[in-house]
Symmetry: C2
Subunit: 187 residues, 2 copies
DNA sequence: CCTGTTACGATGCGAGTGCATTGCAAAGCC
DNA sequence: GGCTTTGCAATGCACTCGCATCGTAACAGG
């Protein structure tokens, strides 16, 4: 058989271009032509690897979730308290790259309100994060499962809100991190 | 001169239809034709009153902010603590109407990342809310301006995050309200 | 009645869209 | 060196989009 290429690499190039388009034009600006131009490839290639526009956009969502999970796993050998703080503060944008990532994230969050497939992906990710936070909290201090769950939910919601404010430049990254450090420390 | 109609009424009908379209199809689904169909009017009417699609969408944003501010002003004769709680919990969706309103709100938040005009409207609204919360906090308890500002920011961010989770049905409205009541009470 | 202005419905146009189709180039196997 | 299967570029098509334009129905003032 013929012509062997690295499929994962090809898919990744296209997904990365998709993220760039979303970051700088919003999810409204996503079209096969725009993504193809950003990636420097032809529309045909995108169709070949993803089939449909919806499939491409959804793949971009799962890729985002996977990347976040991979980043978390790299902290496996840290103390629970540190890992918890990492989960809360990781998505706070500190530079342009972080800003791109989190703006894409929020684009998908908004889309999830009206898109069942995206909603399911994000719901699953959120549930995973919540479970993991509960585990970290109970590893850090002696509390009941219910207490840990309430604390996890409060912390995650707070982190989301702070991240958004940093993204739209209503808040400095340092201040957001400081607030979260105080909250995580207080238990 | 001719043909007198209530301009505000006409504009409001169209903006309301716009909100419905955003709520059920997302901001991607907004087109002059869709909004016109939802409002039961012709495209020409929308052009007559708003000129351009961008102007319509922006008008929908300012109308949303104005409505929220009007709702707040209705609580003018309540105690500061109660008003503060109202600000934090008002946008938590309890029924379908509330869900529509807040989903439109989040659509605009996402749009503000890439749209300067929307961003400015929301930034102004957020600043106003923050200032008002600082005033309410200092009327409720004796704290410094810096402390009140820090508390206000933390509460508003937390309320945003909780609202989002209720919207995507990851959290019950009652639990979100309970968390906020505890936080506002704790000071 | 007439006239001038306003309110808007209808239509047309050029641009952009997602997707199906077609065709060909590249590269293992025989 | 053919043969065959894959990877993908190119093109065409039906459709939707925002917006400009045109026509006209309605109505207050003279």
């Amino acid at each position: 058989m013929p012509r062997v290429v690295d499929h994962e690499e090809r898919r990744w190039e296209i997904v990365f271009a998709l993220w760039l388009v979303i970051a700088e034009q919003g999810i409204e600006g996503v079209s096969l032509r725009h993504v193809a131009a950003e990636a420097g490839v032809s529309m045909g290639r995108i169709q070949h690897y993803f089939g449909t526009k919806d499939a491409l956009v959804l793949a971009g969502c799962t890729a985002l979730v996977d990347r976040a999970y991979g980043g978390y796993q790299e902290t496996a050998d840290a103390a629970p308290r540190e890992r918890l703080l990492h989960v809360m503060t990781q998505q706070i944008p500190r530079d342009d790259a972080g800003r791109i990532g989190v703006s894409v994230w929020y684009a998908y969050v908004a889309k999830s309100i009206n898109d069942a497939a995206v909603r399911q992906v994000l719901a699953e990710a959120r549930r995973g994060a919540e479970d993991e936070c509960v585990r970290l909290i109970r590893a850090d201090r002696d509390v009941s499962a219910e207490t840990a769950l309430a604390q996890a939910r409060r912390l995650l919601a707070l982190a989301d809100g702070l991240t958004l404010r940093v993204l739209v430049r209503d808040l400095e990254p340092a201040e957001a991190v400081a607030i979260l450090e105080a909250e995580v420390g207080a238990g």
